[in-house]
């Protein structure tokens, strides 16, 4: 187990380091460098050279890379050549917003998907099961930004219950916070719930075929009792795996949702930086997102070994 843990942590570190090299090199692909890009094509060579000296862009690439990496490891993401402001506060503020949205969305998605998926499995040959399966199939095909727009049409423009855009931190009043959180979270969660429902359904179906469930029923438990007492824990293993992987997808999905609802999260900052040709900021935000994705994969792998004794022993 300890050996597996160390191996898996090492793998995480190596992959993250390799990803950072890729992100860094991608930003160097452009003809000219970040200073040229930031100043635009009309900038005089003197102005570009000045900016290069100010931010150390005239140094060799490996030096710049190591500077960037060691800065990030100590929590310093550098200075934007476009806004001339430090990048760290931008990331620190926006990451909270994005994480709140993503985690809340996953919670809501699971609250919808676990009961629905279980129902779809238990009633698989009846109308209810078929209806849930069909609905989840359609839900998977709906892009989250379309779900967002439809929710705005219904709950903001139609019923006038919730604001159609904006953000409020929890300290600005919990009611205000929840009102602004509701629609973005629902938009992300509904589509996610559709995906998870299918996995819950097939996981429960799988469990229902197991011998231990038949034994439980032979002891006199009803189908539902047997499922709740013995089945759900076993069905949870594949669902947790998928939910963890889907968290990474939602992190990126939130980029678009934040744009729809004008929410100051990482996605909005990323899109703004791309539009401003602010490559250093793009580089920093992308790296944070990539590390989050890798971290989620790591957590899923470790959870998997905790949940499933067979894997634990094998590892």
């Amino acid at each position: 187990m300890a050996g597996y843990l160390i191996r898996r942590l090492l793998q995480f570190a190596v992959t993250a380091a390799a990803a950072s090299v890729i992100v860094f090199l991608l930003m160097q692909v452009l003809p000219g460098n970040a200073a040229q890009v930031a100043l635009g094509t009309n900038a005089t060579p003197e102005a570009v050279a000045q900016l290069e000296r100010t931010y150390g862009l005239d140094r060799p690439l490996p030096v710049q890379y190591l500077d960037w990496i060691s800065g990030m490891l100590t929590g310093d993401f550098g200075t934007s050549y476009v806004t001339r402001a430090p990048i760290t506060p931008v990331i620190a503020d926006s990451i909270q917003v994005t994480l709140i949205i993503v985690i809340a969305s996953m919670a809501v998605a699971l609250l919808i998907a676990v009961p629905l998926g279980s129902l779809a499995a238990v009633f698989q040959k009846r109308t209810l099961g078929t209806a849930i399966s069909a609905a989840s199939q359609v839900g998977i095909a709906v892009p989250n930004f379309l779900a967002a727009i439809i929710l705005i049409m219904i709950f903001s423009l139609g019923l006038g219950w919730l604001p159609s855009s904006g953000w409020a931190a929890p300290i600005e009043g919990f009611g205000r916070f929840l009102a602004r959180l509701a629609l973005p979270v629902l938009a992300l969660a509904l589509v996610q719930a559709a995906i998870l429902t299918r996995y819950v359904r097939s996981a429960v179906l799988e469990v229902m075929r197991e011998d231990f469930l038949r034994t439980a029923r032979a002891k006199g438990l009803t189908k539902t009792q047997a499922l709740v007492r013995h089945g759900l824990r076993n069905a949870a293993i594949p669902v947790v795996t998928v939910a963890g992987i889907q968290l990474a997808t939602m992190l990126i999905g939130a980029v678009v949702i934040e744009q729809v609802f004008v929410i100051p999260g990482m996605g909005s900052e990323l899109v703004r930086a791309v539009a401003n040709r602010d490559l250093v900021t793009v580089q920093g935000i992308v790296m944070v997102l990539v590390v989050l994705v890798l971290l989620l994969n790591l957590i899923v792998d470790l959870l998997y070994t905790v949940l499933d004794p067979r894997v634990r022993r094998a590892a």
């Binding site: 390799a18 992100v23 692909v29 998977i140 095909a141 709906v142 892009p143």
Partner: protein
Amino acid sequence: MTTRLVASRRRADASLVIGIVLIGIVIGMALVSYLWTPYNPTQAMPADRLQGMSADHIFGTDRYGRDTFTWIMYGARITLLVGVVSVAIAALIGVPLGVLAGMTPYGWLSGLIMRGNDLLLAFPALLLAIVFSAVFGPGTGPAMVALGIASIPGFARVARSGTLQVMSTEYIMAARAANRRIGPIAVFHVLPNIAGMIIVQASVAFALAILAEAGLSFLGLGTQPPTPSWGRMLQESQQYLSSHPMLALWPGLFIAAAVLGFNLLGDGLRDRFDPKLKGRD
């Protein structure tokens, strides 16, 4: 055949038929748009701006008076183009790598390929596409390449696991005993046997590419004006949500229909190709 098998077959066929019909509609619209559209897509008619559905404009018009149905037809082209190119890139790179990794499961090459795969998985499709638009400028080209690269791991994994299965069969052992080289074995024995799985994966990847391109264009970082794209139409409709909701619903409906079509096709084909899934759901 048991009744259960028949039922599952029927469900698979229903998925296939609905999927093929939906995809057929999208392909049909794209093809017809090369011969005929109700209006010229770039022709603005200020007098006709923001009209509802009518005999003249069956889907209405946008803020410049351009015909929405014409734009939907042109948008189908971009949707299919992005799907075809990105899936082709992913399959052409991912499948050979996966087969190679599956045929030499204990070699360093296999390890290298699978670690590279893990590395690519750290870059979700939409994120890679945003990075590409930052570096190479926004456009359909960079988007297709980015989505293609991001889809490589899916193909490599499927090809590898399929190859591992095929390699353990007796006829491969026979071929190896007959001293056939690895190349011919891959081409004549492995590829035909994993083709079904690859086609299923292509269908799923196609759906994901459509979703990602729509998201990217919605952010303004994908297909650029004046080229019509569904994601961009949806974005531009956002300021008219209260007065003209149909402007958002038409492109939304077609994005969802296209994605649903490829997902259903993938599901239907999977049930057809994978004998282990027969009789199950």
